[in-house]
C-alpha cells in the first residue's frame, strides 16, 4: 500500500508529513523525525545487514535507519532534513534511482537501498566515490540544499558536479570538464572559468538539480571568523 504523504513549505523549508495506516511502516535517516503522534513507534536498527549498512556509510549516510510503525492505530509523523531546502518524492516502479551523497531522507516498504561503487567518475563534488542506489517498488524521499529543479533529459545534459541531487539509472554519465573546447581553452575554463568538473548525462531519464550548494555560503562566512591569535 502506497504511503499517504504531503510535502509542505516547498522549496525553502520543506517538511514531509507521512500518515501511517495501522500496520504500515516508513523508514528514515536518523534525526530526521521532527514530530509525531504518540501512536507511532520508533525502532532504530541496521537495515540490509552489516554489509548494506557499511555501504550506506560510504555513501555518506548513517549506519542506522530508523523504522517508524503504527502497530495499534494510524498516526502522523513529520520528517525534516538537516539543511534548509527542498524535499522530493519519487515513486519507484521496479526501476532504479541514484542519490548523491547525503540526499536520502526516507522510504516506504519495498524500497531497497544500497551503496554503488562508481569508480573514479563517482567523485562528484570531490567527495565520496560511492553513490546511494534505491531500487524496488515504493516511495522514496530525498532532500537538497536550496530548491530542486527536474530536468527530463532527452539526449544529453551537463550539470556542475556539486549540484546533482539524483538521477534515474537509465541515464549514462561521465565526469568531465566543459566539453566543446580546445585543450587550451579547456584548461582555462577549468582553472579560471570557475566551472570545475561537470557531469555529462546521456540517454533518457530524469535528473534533479539543486539551485545552491553549501560551499559558497562557507566561503562567504569565512572572512567573518575571528583571527587566531599567535601564542
Amino acid at each position: 500500500m502506497a504511503l499517504e504523504f504531503d510535502i509542505m513549505q516547498r522549496p525553502d523549508f520543506s517538511l514531509l508529513s507521512v500518515k501511517l495506516a495501522k500496520g504500515q511502516h516508513v523508514f528514515a535517516e536518523p534525526a530526521a523525525m521532527a514530530s509525531m503522534d504518540t501512536s507511532i513507534e520508533l525502532k532504530a536498527g541496521f537495515r540490509g545487514g552489516l554489509l548494506g549498512s557499511v555501504g550506506r556509510m560510504f555513501a555518506g549516510e548513517s549506519l542506522i535507519v530508523n523504522t517508524f510503525s503504527a502497530p495499534t492505530t494510524g498516526g502522523e509523523v513529520m520528517f525534516a532534513p538537516g539543511p534548509a531546502g527542498d524535499i522530493l518524492h519519487y515513486a519507484l516502479q521496479g526501476g532504479r534511482i541514484m542519490l548523491q551523497r547525503g540526499a536520502y531522507l526516507a522510504n516506504s516498504e519495498g524500497v531497497e537501498l544500497s551503496a554503488k561503487w562508481e569508480g573514479a567518475r563517482g567523485f562528484f563534488a570531490g567527495q565520496g566515490l560511492v553513490l546511494l542506489q534505491a531500487q524496488g517498488t515504493g516511495d522514496l524521499f530525498f532532500n537538497a540544499y536550496g530548491a530542486v529543479l527536474e530536468f527530463d533529459v532527452k539526449d544529453d545534459l551537463i550539470v556542475d558536479t556539486g549540484y546533482v541531487v539524483a538521477f534515474e539509472e537509465t541515464l549514462r554519465y561521465e565526469v568531465t570538464v566543459l566539453p566543446g573546447l580546445g585543450l587550451g581553452s579547456k584548461a582555462k575554463a577549468f582553472f579560471f572559468g570557475g566551472e570545475g568538473l561537470v557531469v555529462r548525462f546521456f540517454g533518457q531519464g530524469k535528473v534533479w538539480v539543486q539551485t545552491r550548494t553549501v560551499h559558497p555560503f562557507l566561503s562567504f562566512i569565512h572572512p567573518y571568523r575571528p583571527k587566531k591569535k599567535d601564542s
Binding site: A147, F151, I158, G180, T211, R212, F217, K228
Partner: protein, 228 residues
C-alpha cells in the same frame, strides 16, 4: 533569449533559453546546468571592450577577473545560472542609459550590454564600505542581478534614503551621495544605521532585504578562529 526566474526568493535561479547564435555573458562559476549545444569561452574581456584593464577593474569591483561566454550552437538550448548564497535573482530590461550595480550583484547580461567597472568616487566608496568600483551596465538588452535576501523595487521620484548595505542597483538617472542619517553624526551611528545613501532624481532603485555584513558579523564570532 527567453528568461524565467524560478524558486524565488531564497533559492532563485535564472533559466535561460537561447537560440542558435545567441550569446550571454555570465559571472564565473554561476553555471549550474546546461544543454550540450553551447560553446563556452572563458575570457578576461567582453567583445568590444578594452582588454585586460576591464578585467582588472572588474576584479576591484568585487567581480571575477574572468567572464564566461555561452553561445548557443543549436536551437533551444537551456542554461541554468544562479548565485552562490541564498537570495533573489531579477531580470532587468535595459533600454537606454545605464544601470549601476553594486560590486557582487551582477550575474549575467546579454551581448548588447557593455559591462564596465565604474569609479564610484573614492570618498563615497570608502565611507559606504563598498568597493571603489561599481559595475556599470550600459546599452540595450537583458541584465540579471542577484542579491542577499529578497529584492524589492523602489521607483524614486524626488528623494529616497537607503542603507549602504542594502543597495543592489540603480539607474544612473539618479544622483546619490553618502552621508549620515538625520541631523547629527552621533545619532546616525547610535541608531545602528551608520551611513546611508541619499538618492535624488527620477529612476528605478533595487534594494535587498538583507545586509550581508550584518549576517556575517552575527555568525562569525560564534565560529572557530581561522588561521592568521
Amino acid at each position: 533569449m527567453q528568461a524565467e526566474i524560478q524558486a524565488r526568493p531564497s533559492a532563485s535561479v535564472a533559466k535561460l533559453t537561447l537560440d542558435t547564435g545567441e550569446m550571454v555573458v555570465c559571472e564565473v562559476g554561476s553555471m549550474i546546468a546546461m544543454s550540450t549545444g553551447f560553446h563556452v569561452a572563458t575570457t578576461a574581456r567582453q567583445k568590444g571592450s578594452s582588454g585586460l584593464w576591464a578585467g582588472v577593474k572588474r576584479m576591484m569591483s568585487g567581480e571575477n577577473f574572468f567572464l564566461n561566454q555561452f553561445t548557443a550552437q543549436r536551437p533551444q538550448q537551456t542554461l541554468l545560472i544562479g548565485p552562490g548564497v541564498a537570495g533573489d535573482v531579477i531580470h532587468h530590461q535595459l533600454h537606454a542609459g545605464s544601470l549601476i550595480v553594486q560590486g557582487s550583484s551582477w550575474l549575467a547580461s546579454g551581448p548588447g550590454v557593455t559591462i564596465d567597472a565604474t569609479f564610484a568616487g573614492l570618498g563615497k566608496a570608502l565611507f559606504s564600505g563598498e568597493s571603489v568600483f561599481w559595475v556599470k551596465c550600459t546599452g540595450h538588452g537583458d541584465v540579471f542581478l542577484n542579491s542577499f535576501g529578497a529584492i524589492y523595487e523602489v521607483e524614486v521620484d524626488g528623494t529616497h534614503i537607503v542603507d549602504t548595505g542594502h543597495i543592489v542597483a540603480f539607474e544612473d538617472t539618479l544622483d546619490f551621495r553618502v552621508g549620515k542619517l538625520g541631523d547629527s553624526w552621533i545619532g546616525s551611528f547610535l541608531s545602528g544605521e551608520g551611513l546611508v545613501c541619499h538618492f535624488s532624481g527620477q529612476g528605478k532603485l533595487y534594494c535587498q532585504s538583507h545586509n550581508p555584513p550584518s549576517f556575517g558579523q552575527l555568525l562569525g564570532p560564534m565560529l572557530k578562529p581561522r588561521p592568521a
